[in-house]
């Protein structure tokens, strides 16, 4: 075989190997999703979304309280973490120079890597111990801390991608800096900022470790802010390891729902970002 033929054969082999790897990576996801759908779909019914959990042996029952708990806990975390994170990201992208900015960047990178269970312990010590009871609010603190660095860094990236020449154009028209940022730079960065916020929500929606000793879980309707509250990942965890078939069934249903929500959030993030390029 001459060199060219050898090289082509080698190239074909490597491309095949890469394609196979890509296939395996994608197949894993497909298998997980299909398996969860096949197991969880039977559990999904109207009562799954509207009823409280029932005792073992009683058929029916749902995860309505866990749904409400998850929504409230995540909403509370978002309301606090997203504005703070977005403002910090804007600061880093436009004005962040010197030690303070470097420190914020470094710390938010470190925070991204901190295991979520450690953040759960922190929220436990910060909120649960002083108030003497588990609560949805303490879970929001934990999730908010996890969201914060994600929002900070994605916002910084999104704002940094806006060409500085556009802001200079606004300044050259005699606009003060705050107007140039608010009316010219930020609208351009908005799809990127929104995407980051959505992805941060998707990231914490499935977190279970930090909820174990903050939200704690509940079988009943409770105030999802001030009391121990059920949450979807907790229900999955507690029911999946239970010995009862009905409860395991509910866990599968919850897992399917969670996958669907996260899938939807990722899809929304893509659509928001896509809208920018369609313009």
């Amino acid at each position: 075989m001459n060199r060219l033929a050898l090289r082509k054969a080698w190239s074909a082999f490597m491309i095949g190997l890469a394609a196979l790897s890509a296939g395996i990576a994608a197949a894993t996801l497909v298998v997980v999703v299909l398996y969860v759908v096949s197991k969880g779909a039977p559990a999904l019914s109207v009562s799954f979304f509207t009823h409280l959990p029932r005792p073992v042996g009683v058929p029916g029952g749902g995860v309505a309280n866990a749904l409400l708990g998850s929504v409230v806990v995540i909403a509370l975390a978002s309301v606090v973490a997203i504005p703070i994170g977005a403002l910090a990201g804007i600061y880093l992208a436009l004005f962040g120079r010197g030690r303070l900015a470097d420190a914020v960047r470094f710390l938010s990178d470190v925070l991204t890597g901190v295991p979520s269970i450690a953040i759960g312990v922190f929220a436990y010590a910060l909120v649960v111990l002083p108030t003497h009871h588990f609560s949805g609010a303490s879970a929001s603190v934990a999730l908010g801390i996890i969201m914060l660095p994600i929002v900070v860094r994605t916002t910084e990236e999104a704002v940094r991608l806006v060409p500085h020449t556009i802001r200079e154009g606004a300044l050259a028209l005699g606009m003060p800096t705050w107007k140039a940022v608010l009316l010219v730079t930020l609208p351009v960065a908005r799809p990127g900022i929104t995407t980051g916020a959505l992805l941060s929500i998707a990231r914490v929606a499935g977190e279970s470790a930090p909820l174990l000793f903050t939200a704690f879980g509940s079988q009943f309707w409770s105030n999802p802010i001030s009391s121990p509250t059920a949450a979807l990942p907790l229900v999955i965890f507690q029911y999946a390891i239970s010995p009862y078939h009905e409860w395991q069934q509910v866990a599968w249903g919850g897992a399917l729902l969670l996958i669907f929500v996260i899938f939807a959030l990722n899809l929304a993030a893509r659509l928001v970002l896509g809208a920018k390029f369609a313009r």
């Binding site: 606004a170 028209l173 010219v184 351009v188 313009r279």
Partner: protein, 258 residues
């Protein structure tokens, strides 16, 4: 009203690096003045000092004076945003605001700087500015389209219209045609001749033919290996290009370097 700009011992720094040294120029009201010179000679930096845009870049500094109708831009207490409304700027690359329509782009400065609020007047401002920028006929039927949907040459005229809408006295142009094709370049040059008289125009260009074609006065700047950019020669364009007084000017305009 066109205004006169005079610089006195103007120097500009990036950190500890001096880019422009002790420039004294008088830009005549209503005339077109070109600043030429090889890359890195400080001509763009000098231009950005004239509307206080140099200081937008971190760690920069300006020394000396820039007098707009005898009023020093760099006097303590002068609000740079105020000065910039009187001294418009067009950049090297067209930079329309991407999220805004053609209409919103044109009136952005007038609206956002709080000069005009009335819808009726905004329409007038938009039409007048687009007409002055020779863009009205091409965009009058699609004012609500995105500003970035236009071609590069149209975008640059949009940016000129946007600058004119604020009713400045001076228009600074930083290589406004260097990213454009020859036909668009010709349109920009025609436009400059139209605007001359009503506005004082100062254009930075590395295209000597362009300087010779459009300007009344030309300043030649040059930086040495380790010396900052300085004004070598300033004269009427016809004189500077035919009978330069300085050997370095002659070498540059005859294409011996740069």
């Amino acid at each position: 009203m066109a205004s006169e700009i005079v610089t006195r011992e103007l120097s500009a720094y990036y950190g500890s690096h001096q880019a422009v040294a002790d420039v004294n120029i008088r830009f005549e009201a209503g005339a077109i003045t070109a600043l030429i010179g090889p890359s890195g000679c400080g001509k763009s930096t000098l231009l950005r000092c004239l509307n206080r845009m140099h200081e937008v870049v971190p760690n920069t500094r300006v020394e000396g004076q820039v007098l707009l109708d005898a009023k020093n831009l760099y006097a303590p207490g002068v609000d740079p945003t105020h000065m910039r409304q009187r001294i418009g700027m067009v950049f090297q690359r067209p930079n329309p605001f991407p999220t805004m329509s053609i209409f919103d782009n044109v009136v952005a400065g007038a609206r956002l700087s709080g000069q005009v609020r009335d819808r009726m007047t905004l329409d007038d401002v938009a039409e007048r500015s687009l007409r002055r920028a020779a863009l009205w006929d091409e965009v009058k039927d699609k004012l609500q389209h995105g500003g970035t949907s236009l071609s590069g040459g149209q975008q640059q005229r949009l940016c000129i219209a946007r600058a004119l809408a604020v009713e400045p006295d001076v228009l600074l142009m930083d290589e406004p045609a260097s990213a454009l094709d020859p036909i668009s370049t010709t349109k920009i040059e025609d436009l400059m001749r139209e605007l001359k008289g009503a506005f004082t125009i100062i254009i930075v260009t590395h295209n000597m033919q362009q300087a010779a074609r459009v300007s009344d006065y030309t300043g030649f700047l040059l930086a040495g290996e380790s010396t900052p950019g300085a004004l070598i020669e300033f004269d009427e364009t016809s004189k500077l290009f035919t009978t330069p007084k300085d050997k370095r000017t002659e070498d540059y305009i005859t294409g011996r370097f740069g």
